[in-house]
């Protein structure tokens, strides 16, 4: 029976193979040997690897043998066998470990599955295709999902970007609006402080407008005293309960005060400070301090206080700095104006003093002289009646003559001095009138005709027919010409020629007084217009004089704004008045 079973096994319609753990084939039936194109004896003792292609060898080592060894059996393991001719033989294997003669063998049956493996391959292929399709679908879905997610992210990004941009635009608009507001605030403050010359008003405006415009808790301004050792809180806004205005802070080493004098042009932002003596209500507020300064130094500081949570942005700081600058200019202007006002007052006072002096001189000098003159005239009449003047050589007559002449001289001197003082003060306005010289000069010269004839001098007048009308102060012109003609008569010898003439040049209308027989050296030309100056040895008629005549002429000329020059040579001296054509045409 056993033998029958063995024979049956040998010819069974499935392969049988038994192998040891080391892979040695122990037994193989004829069916399997035939399937692999071997004789059974060729396989017995051979390594099982010899009937396995490479992939099957790996699978045998990594799966088949470990399973069989660990679990004692394998079922339905698919393997590809290799025939002697190299053909592939797909088989399903069931195997079982069994002890045999003290050692273990692995008995396996092999079922060839040529047809089934084809189905399986097709199935596998179909599965792969389906898997590939599913995979593709999944990937497509994932890609779609990713694209959707990306799109959504992009949309969110865009929305965020848009929101950011809008916020930026809003911020920028707010900044611009704030800048515009500050600009108009600055303009308003500038206009107000520029128009004002009142220091208090300037500071009040700046502090009030800044306090309201920046919406601060509290704002004030400190003004430094001239010696820089004290600050005064000059103005505050809005007025707090405990007013600090007028509070003096003495700056001493033991009682320091934050003083910005050393940080010109900087604005400082402070954290809240410990209790501020001058401003107890500003405890725990953020502070912005900015110095009011110009090139001449620091005038004071602007102080702004705000709640701790807020601070001052750069626009606000710049605004405060600009306001401080304008305040500095306005304060400086205000102080200059105040000084100018004081100077004007002082000048007015001095002018009054001068007028008083002139009045005094006029009263105290002229009044006695007028009395003397009057008394002299009365005395002359009385003495004449007594016949005391019959003999001019009489001592009384000589003394009286001296009294009269010196009195007249003194009167002339006083008058000249008063004229000079009045001209120096320039208090009298010009009394302008337009005249024709053709008419004026002949009329004016008449009194001098008698005098020159008496001194045996020849006085001539030379005026062209066409002269432009002349606008000037006639009384001043008369004084000038009188003095010049008087001098000509006075200093010319007998027989000399004296001439008054007028002419136009391209730039001026000239009036000329000349006399012959006398020369003034060029070195004296400038000096003759000085006060009390007299050309030495130059008084042939012994007229004497005050020495103020030409000085007065020069004053009148200057007052009229015209020119005068001296020409002297060839035995002739001339004084030429130059009226600029422009003024001549007026």
């Amino acid at each position: 029976m056993t033998c029958q079973i063995d024979e049956l096994l040998d010819t069974a319609p499935c392969g049988f193979l038994s192998f040891a753990d080391d892979g040695t084939i122990v037994a193989v039936n004829a069916t399997l040997a035939a399937l692999l194109e071997y004789e059974p004896y060729q396989l017995e003792g051979a390594a099982i690897a010899s009937i396995l292609p490479i992939a099957s060898r790996i699978f045998y080592q990594t799966h088949f043998f470990p399973l069989l060894k660990l679990h004692g059996k394998v079922e339905e393991v698919y393997l590809l066998l290799r025939s002697q001719q190299g053909g592939d033989v797909p088989v399903l294997i069931n195997g079982m470990r069994q002890e045999q003669a003290g050692s273990f063998v692995n008995n396996c049956i092999f079922v060839p599955i040529h047809q089934r493996i084809q189905y399986e391959e097709e199935l596998l292929q179909a599965k792969k295709v389906a898997e590939a399709a599913t995979q593709a679908q999944n990937e497509a879905n994932i890609a779609l999902k990713q694209a959707q997610t990306a799109l959504e992210l992009k949309q969110i990004e865009l929305l965020e970007l848009n929101a950011q941009l809008e916020e930026q635009v809003q911020q920028r608009t707010a900044q611009l609006q704030q800048a515009l507001n500050f600009e108009s605030l600055l303009q308003r403050i500038t206009a107000k402080v520029r128009d004002s010359l009142d220091e208090q008003q300037i500071l009040q405006t700046a502090v009030q407008e800044l306090g309201l415009g920046l919406g601060v808790e509290y704002c004030d301004v400190e003004i430094y005293q001239a010696d820089q050792t004290r600050v005064t809180i000059a103005y505050e806004s809005p007025r707090p309960l405990t007013a600090a205005q007028g509070w003096f802070l003495q700056i001493t080493p033991t009682s320091p005060v934050v003083k910005l004098a050393f940080i010109e042009g900087e604005a400082l932002q402070f954290c809240p400070m410990p209790l501020n003596r001058a401003r107890p209500h500003t405890h725990q507020l953020v502070i912005l301090a900015c110095s009011i300064y110009d090139d001449q130094g620091v005038l004071g500081d602007l102080w702004l206080f705000r709640q701790q949570e807020e601070s001052f942005n750069h626009l606000e700081i710049r605004l405060v700095q600009q306001v401080a600058n304008h305040c500095a200019i306005a304060l400086r202007q205000s102080r200059l104006y105040r000084e100018a006002q004081l100077q004007v007052q002082e000048l007015e006072r001095l002018n009054q003093l001068k007028d008083d002096f002139l009045n005094t001189v006029s009263h105290e000098l002229r009044t006695p002289m007028s009395s003397i003159k009057l008394a002299t005239q009365m005395l002359e009449t009385n003495l004449k009646t007594l016949g005391l003047f019959a003999d001019e050589s009489h001592a009384i007559a000589r003394s009286f003559k001296i009294i009269r002449e010196e009195g007249q001289r003194e009167m002339g001197l006083i008058n000249d001095l008063l004229d000079m003082a009045r001209l120096d003060a320039q208090t009298e306005p010009l009394n302008l009138a337009t005249i024709d010289l053709q008419l004026f000069l002949p009329y004016f010269i008449e009194p001098f005709l008698e005098r020159t004839r008496h001194q045996d001098q020849r006085l001539s007048i030379e005026i062209p027919d066409s002269l432009p009308p002349l606008t000037t102060d006639v009384s001043y012109l008369e004084r000038i010409l009188t003095e010049l003609l008087h001098n000509a008569c006075k200093y010319s010898p007998a027989g000399a020629a004296i001439a008054l003439s007028a002419q136009t040049t391209p730039t001026a209308l000239e009036v000329r007084v000349s006399n012959s027989g006398v020369e003034i050296p060029p070195t004296e030309h400038e000096r003759i217009f000085g006060k009390f100056y007299r050309i030495p040895n130059h008084d042939p008629w012994k007229h004497g004089g005050t020495g103020l005549g030409l000085a007065l002429v020069k004053k009148f000329v200057d007052r009229l704004g015209i020119g005068i020059r001296v020409e002297s040579g060839d035995g002739e001296t001339a004084f030429v008045l130059e009226f600029a054509i422009a003024s001549a045409r007026v």
Partner: protein, 269 residues
């Protein structure tokens, strides 16, 4: 112990010694393959066994296709186990692809390892003509993958649990179901690709930990010439040519395997 790593890699620790031996299984198996070996070392060492993520009873949820796309991911498993147990002075015993995984782990943390025992190792399974014969062409590996695919058709239809009459180890009747057939075929396929397409030849000269190479006779997966290649390029390596044939000497010839490892460890002391 780090509970996450412990359950993730299904770590098993036993033995009476203090110096750890860390056993790392190869492709297609799990830590059970060491059962014929471990008893010989229990008295003198602390034995640590584990399953790579994706194999055996590891936590499949922890599997990441990116991390385990190459052998570095598996080397990180070894280092994770060492870190979780705070292992030092480790004797690493790796089979087949685990030999290379152990080498890679030792490059990253050489201070943890005392010795490396490389059972049937290969640094590169593919042929790289003309100078290197790994044993396989790409077509062979693709056929292997095909073979695996076809078998997993069978596994997945293999519904009924098998109650095995196993006189050797009756307690392991559930093993097939739990360790092999339930393994995810996709993960196994990726492990096969990571294993057989790997080329770690350039890493060999960098290894500083001393090693023992156990080279089987007639090994279809790691030919003798590859064993010599390993020996030439690994510093401080010993090469032992085994009587054992095939690729799994720890299962087919456990006594010889035990004896060679014990001799090596004794001599090393």
């Amino acid at each position: 112990m780090n509970q996450n790593i412990s359950s993730r890699n299904n770590i098993t620790v036993f033995g009476q010694g203090t110096q750890p031996i860390l056993f790392a299984h190869g492709f297609g198996c799990d830590q059970n393959v060491w059962r014929f070996i471990t008893a010989a070392f229990e008295d003198d060492y602390k034995l640590v066994l584990f399953d790579y993520v994706g194999s055996g009873k590891s936590d499949l949820q922890a599997y990441s296709p990116e991390r385990y796309s190459d052998l570095q991911g598996y080397a990180q498993d070894v280092l994770d186990v060492c870190t979780a147990l705070d292992l030092t002075d480790v004797i690493f015993v790796g089979h087949s692809v685990s030999s290379v995984i152990g080498l890679l782990a030792s490059l990253q943390a050489p201070q943890r390892f005392n010795r490396l025992v490389l059972v049937a190792p290969s640094p590169c399974y593919m042929n790289d003509p003309p100078s290197y014969q790994g044993g396989f062409d790409r077509r062979d590996i693709e056929e292997l993958l095909d073979l695996m695919d076809k078998n997993y058709i069978g596994w997945t239809s293999f519904l009924a649990p098998v109650i095995m009459q196993n006189p050797e180890h009756p307690e392991l009747t559930q093993e097939l179901e739990t360790s092999f057939c339930s393994t995810d075929p996709v993960i196994m396929r990726r492990f096969a690709e990571a294993t057989f397409f790997a080329d770690n030849r350039s890493d060999l000269p960098k290894v500083t930990v001393p090693s023992l190479i156990l080279q089987c006779a007639d090994d279809a997966i790691a030919p003798t010439e590859v064993g010599h290649y390993m020996h030439r390029h690994l510093r401080q390596s010993s090469l032992q040519m085994m009587q054992a044939t095939g690729h799994c000497p720890h299962m087919s010839h456990p006594e010889e395997t035990i004896q060679l490892i014990q001799t090596y460890l004794t001599e090393a002391c």
